[in-house]
């Protein structure tokens, strides 16, 4: 086909493409969801109290929200269309079930968020204050709903329910939509992702506010934001962890191989210990290890001496059930992704906890080290979100739909040259956009808001509608 990419298969190119697109898209989406809610809260506070500090903060974080929103939208189109482009055999196999939430997501969520955001951006002064406030809440609700449908679709890939396989077409056919919407995997994963998104918004707002508090910019307004953001960060980090824990228990039942890979647990154990850190080989000969006794059993089964299945035993079981082949995902990637995600999650709980303690002690503004730490911690949820998805998606391999369709049978029958072209093209575009976006976000985030009186803020508009 194409001599440049000879030897590289369509499959591996398509997998890289999917991974890069998904991680890139999901850098922006959680911040959209989290900041959307935060801006809605700030505007409500402004509306209720008439306090201009809240009004300034609504506009300040509103600007950041919009820059971020734009990239989330445009990468979302690729996210939806790449299933047909790169994964056409997957699309035919799952369309009956997977397509429905995607279509409903468009109809229920995307229309809502885009339309009401349009009203929010351009309607200030054009619509009443009450309608303007309602429009940000509806846009925020739209972002929250959109996450629900895509998570229902993804959860079906992790744990298929409510379907039969059509014997003539070999497609998965939906038999129970309610089962798809109440999939235990979905309920846990949606909560986890939603809390993670609020956490991303909370930690971001806290970090930005902390920066300005340190620089003595508009201390009243940023102090208020920091207090709200600390509460959001603490509540949502604890919520994320709690639901992550119930996901682990489901995982041990539904995808024990992913759980075993996350722990690099080669052999079934009762009262299994949790590996906190490993240097060297993840198998039998590590150079250095820290292990917490019994903790893995508690995490996976909720009992002190519960049995956690190991990779070797699970592989044997899988070959007996599905035929010869390897059913083990990339262990090192699962192991480390899981640790990075959980480690940063714990740090974020600490961030929220220490923050709250400083607020209670009335020492927040006087703690430059905490404020500096909070600003650096802006990066944490983004990294944790990315590795969370890498773990979830890599850990399911070799399956694309768990137990039903392997990834190698899901890819489109197309020339690797095509996929290479779009892989290079999209990666270049994403890199370019990331540089522009991060540059813009930094500029806007670092610029202190102009303190204006209400009269000044109601100046003559440059354009009317």
């Amino acid at each position: 086909m194409n001599s440049l990419v000879a030897g590289i298969s369509t499959l591996s190119l398509a997998r890289w493409q999917f991974g890069i697109t998904t991680v890139f898209h999901f850098l922006f989406v959680p911040l959209t969801i989290g900041l959307g809610l935060l801006v809605a809260i700030l505007q409500t506070a402004s509306y209720r109290t008439g306090d201009l500090a809240y009004e300034r903060m609504t506009r300040f974080f509103g600007k950041l929200f919009l820059v971020n929103f734009a990239i989330g939208v445009v990468t979302g189109i690729v996210q939806e269309f790449q299933f047909g482009m790169d994964w056409s055999r997957y699309s035919v196999f799952v369309g009956n079930i997977f397509g429905a939430p995607l279509a409903i997501e468009g109809l229920l969520a995307f229309f809502m968020e885009s339309t009401f955001l349009g009203i929010w951006i351009f309607g200030r002064g054009r619509v009443s204050k009450r309608v303007h406030l309602a429009s940000i809440w509806l846009a925020s609700l739209g972002t929250i709903l959109s996450a629900a449908f895509i998570m229902a679709a993804n959860s079906w890939m992790q744990h298929p329910v409510g379907y039969v396989i059509d014997p003539t077409t070999h497609q998965a056919v939906m038999t129970n939509f309610w089962a798809v919407l109440t999939n235990s995997t979905f309920l846990a994963a949606y909560g986890h992702v939603l809390f993670a998104a609020f956490l991303t918004g909370g930690a971001f707002a806290l970090g930005v506010a902390a920066y300005h508090l340190r620089k003595n910019h508009d201390k009243v307004a940023f102090g208020k934001v920091a207090r709200i953001a600390i509460v959001v960060t603490l509540l949502s980090s604890v919520g994320t962890a709690f639901l992550g824990d119930s996901q682990a228990k489901l995982l041990e039942k539904q995808q024990p191989m992913k759980m075993a890979a996350a722990e690099a647990l080669y052999n079934t154990e009762s009262g299994a210990s949790f590996s906190l850190l490993t240097i060297g080989d993840l198998g039998d000969n590590p150079i250095f290890q820290i292990r917490l006794p019994h903790i893995l059993s508690v995490l996976a089964t909720n009992t002190w001496n519960g049995k956690v299945q190991g990779i070797n035993q699970l592989e044997k079981k899988a070959t007996a059930e599905y035929g010869a082949g390897s059913y083990v995902p990339l262990i090192w990637l699962c192991y480390w992704s899981f640790r990075i995600m959980v480690g940063l999650g714990i740090l974020l709980v600490l961030l929220g906890g220490v923050g709250l303690w400083l607020v209670r002690k009335k020492r927040l503004e006087k703690s430059p080290r905490f404020l500096r730490f909070a600003t650096w911690m802006i990066a944490a949820p983004f990294i944790a979100n990315s590795f969370g998805w890498i773990f979830t998606e890599v850990g399911r391999q070799p399956w694309v739909v768990y137990g039903l369709l392997s990834t190698s049978k899901a890819v489109s029958v197309i020339s690797p040259g095509y996929v290479a072209t779009s892989l290079i093209g999209f990666t270049a575009i994403y890199t370019f956009l990331a540089v522009i976006e991060i540059g813009l976000m930094f500029r806007i985030a670092k610029e202190p808001p102009a303190i204006e009186t209400l009269e000044e803020s109601e100046r003559i508009p440059e354009l009317i509608y």
Partner: protein
């Protein structure tokens, strides 16, 4: 032929073919003028202020308009998985170009005014132009290909290359949509702006109308003749393309007589007639094979099972009215012409964010 007769679509499948058709029509009607506005931006915007006015005519609505595409894509995935899979993988490169264009265009609307820097704005305005022109052309190419046939063999396997997709008929289809959307954009701008920009939109519209008429009429005639001679269906009522052509012939007169609202309605009718002709021409297929009629993909063969279609029908029935209501409402909120306030309006006006 036997295969075609034995697999005629059920009522539910026909409904979903129609609904997906409506989603595409909505997309092309709405984003059609977005594309036109983007294409006309460098020609009608003589200075920075004009360009801001032009971009702001679609500012509050373009994103909502683009969701029609996402919903059409999602609904096709759900209702006709085989269609979605074959088209999206088969039209790989054109689709990649469309997506890249839509990415740049979308962020450009948000980014262009984020820095007070003429070079910065100039580059994003270029992104808006190319990001509008490229999809406006390529969507026409793709839809013409659906009708005239794609290199698809047994089991819907793709046998051709990119160059099989850019035949003369398809290129004429692409030119048609490019011209039509640009004209649609000019009638929209005539309706939504004041003064100089409005005047220039009128001049451009008048100049574009005859050329668009020639291209689109040629394409529709070609489409209609093929439908009768080569394909078997003839489902397209002749009145439909004729109505489109008549509406298109009227656009030039309406613009000349300053009947801007009617001119916009006329370009909207042309777009609806144009794509309805193409979609009805496809029926009862969703994709025609240029290899052999035996390999055509029928609606019935591409469709999901009845259960999925029923679930989707209920969801669509319940929620579509809300979407239509609030989307119409935004056009009512932002119904005024975009421009600078006259002295009398200043006292009552309030801040706009940009």
């Amino acid at each position: 032929m036997l295969a075609l007769i034995s697999t005629s679509p059920s009522g539910l499948e026909q409904l979903w073919f129609a609904l997906i058709g409506v989603l595409w029509l909505g997309y092309f009607f709405l984003e059609g003028f977005d594309f036109g506005v983007g294409i006309l931006l460098p020609f009608l915007g003589k200075n920075d202020n004009d360009r801001r006015v032009i971009v702001n005519t679609i500012g509050p609505v373009w994103d909502g308009n683009e969701v029609w595409l996402l919903t059409a894509g999602g609904a096709t995935f759900a209702a006709f998985p085989q269609w979605y899979a074959t088209v999206f993988s088969g039209f790989y490169l054109p689709l990649f170009l469309i997506l890249a264009a839509l990415i740049f265009r979308g962020v450009a609307f948000e980014f262009r005014h984020k820095r007070e820097d003429a070079t910065w704005t100039k580059w994003w305005d270029r992104a808006i132009f190319w990001g509008s022109a490229l999809p406006a052309l390529l969507w026409g190419v793709a839809f013409a290909d659906f009708v005239h046939g794609v290199p698809m063999a047994a089991n819907y396997s793709w046998t051709g290359t990119f160059f099989d997709l850019v035949k003369p008929y398809a290129l004429l289809g692409g030119l048609s949509t490019l011209a039509l959307f640009t004209l649609h954009g000019s009638t929209f701008l005539g309706l939504k702006t004041h003064g100089d920009v409005r005047q220039r939109a009128r001049v451009v519209g008048k100049a574009l109308a005859p050329a668009t008429f020639a291209i689109v009429t040629g394409f529709l005639a070609w489409t209609y003749l093929t439908a009768h001679n080569t394909h078997h269906t003839g489902l397209v009522p002749p009145l439909l393309p004729i109505a489109g052509v008549i509406a298109l012939a009227g656009v030039g007169w309406l613009i000349r007589d300053r009947l801007e609202g009617w001119a916009f309605l006329a370009t909207a009718i042309v777009i609806v007639a144009f794509f309805t002709t193409l979609l009805l021409n496809l029926y009862p297929n969703v994709l025609v094979s240029s290899v052999s009629p035996h390999f055509d993909m029928t609606i019935a063969a591409a469709a999901s099972h009845p259960y999925t279609l029923k679930v989707m029908s209920w969801v669509a029935l319940i929620f579509t009215p809300f979407v239509l209501l609030y989307q119409t409402w935004t056009y009512i909120i932002f119904k005024r012409r975009v421009g600078h306030p006259s002295p009398g309006e200043i006292s009552s006006s309030v801040p706009a964010q940009r």
